[in-house]
Amino acid sequence: MVRVVLIAALVGLMALAVTGSARGQEMAEAPAESPEPGPQGAAESHAAIRTIVIDPGHGGDEVGAVGRSGVYEKDLALDIARRLRDRLASGGRFEVLLTRSSDQSVGLRERTAIANHASADLFVSIHLNSSRRLSAHGTETYFLSLTASDEEAMSLARAENRGGSRRLPAAGGKADDDGPDGEEGGDGGDADLEMILWDLAQSEHLARSSRLADMIQDEMNRLLGVSSRGIKQAPFTVLMGATMPAVLVEVAFLSNKEEEQQLESADFRSRVAVALESAILRFKDELERSGGPGPAGPRP
């Protein structure tokens, strides 16, 4: 809870930072300022979520968990992902991309890159769980935990906000350093600001990911009766670096006899797709009611 408050505070800070920013021009490109009158009409153009990337776990040589009948996680995950895509894409409500549409191997970072490249508004990775404890059962939805580098970037951002003149270090993955950092800390304010904005946008994505994870757990329980093991945070590689709300759903346990039988039924997998769709629609509604269109943060 402390973290949520912190994130809320940081999002507020971001709004302040944007106001005083010289980067207004770039911000104007955010969906908020440039509604595209699309074929769906004015109401749809304000949609908080337009592009969704669905990521079926594993694929190719990497089969994932294996059920006792010999069924592979990769195949069931792809099937659920396709069903979810068909539902979400029907009537042109959303643009939906799959990170893989067949039984092929795709790298974890490549999957996130596909979502970033498509400027997706949502990333949903679909997996099936497995445990040494055969009684383990239920749905888990994960979102990213704060990593050590995030922690440092955030505390530096706070120091910066208090009027300190410390330079932000290049965060992990940001290799485009603007030359040797000046110790004086007077120049390069734009780069600092960009860092802070990027970081705060990530914090906001985390808060939203948490909401979506909550809703997925709810809907899976409500529509399927699958017990909820709660939302959890962990450093899943496939969620790292995503520049949008991103969750990983462990639908149910292939290692559990009853759940394996359920997962092998096409009807059950259809109903999983319905539950996920329902959660995504709830999430979209909430975003539109609360915050207006689009993620507020800048897109790198």
């Binding site: 997996h127 040494r132 383990a136 239920g138 990593t147 959890k232 962990a234 899943f236 590689t237 790292m240």
Partner: protein, 198 residues
């Protein structure tokens, strides 16, 4: 997989060099920090023996195991010896996790896992090198992997103020991930949302 293996080994070598460098620099100031005497840690936690009543040379720690339903982490209190170095106290705590719970909780770490090295750097990062059994036992699925990793991370970060994050190595090598899911390329912060507080 073989290409990645080579890369992992190369990265592992770099990390080991880093650790050695760290050990060397830490050693300048305080040689006691460098190599925790194995004899000491062996006698520090007599196997199968319930710790006696609180005394000056013992300190209580919180260890994380699995809840009986296996869904979350839960705490079990245990006493370890108040040895001089945090390296050694951290080793005692992790060894106690590997030995398993004494009460109603379930084991959180794959059986057979051994500690190869534990070293606490001055920046608050604990380098924990575990034997390959840790990885083999986690190929199954996300839940087991997440809880095992955080049993280690939470235990160290919770009990030792010198430790803020944990970098896991397996068999001396730096790994990109465990079970193909979790990112272990960076130090991991504690995640108390995984702990059942009831």
């Amino acid at each position: 997989m073989s290409g990645a293996g080579v890369a992992e080994r190369a990265e592992g070598a770099i990390v080991l060099l880093t650790i050695v460098a760290g050990l060397a620099s830490a050693g300048c100031g305080n040689p006691v920090d460098v190599v925790p005497p194995p004899a000491e840690s062996a006698e520090a936690l007599p196997p199968g023996e319930t710790p006696v009543a609180e005394s000056d040379n013992q300190v209580e720690v919180t260890l994380y195991f699995l809840t009986p339903d296996g869904e979350m982490l839960a705490a079990e209190r245990r006493r370890i010896f108040r040895t001089a170095t945090v390296n050694d106290r951290a080793r005692q705590a992790i060894q106690a996790i590997l030995d398993g719970p004494e009460g109603r909780l379930l084991r959180s770490i794959p059986p057979g896992t051994r500690i190869l090295e534990i070293f606490v750097a001055r920046d608050g990062t604990a380098f924990v090198d575990l034997s390959a059994e840790f990885r083999w036992g986690l190929e199954t699925g996300s839940s087991d992997a997440v809880l095992a990793v955080y049993a280690v991370v939470n235990t160290l970060a919770q009990n030792f103020e010198e430790i803020r994050r944990v970098k896991l190595l397996l068999d001396g090598e730096e790994l990109d991930s465990v079970g193909g899911h979790l990112d272990l390329s960076r130090p991991i912060l504690p995640e108390m949302s995984l702990v059942d507080l009831h």
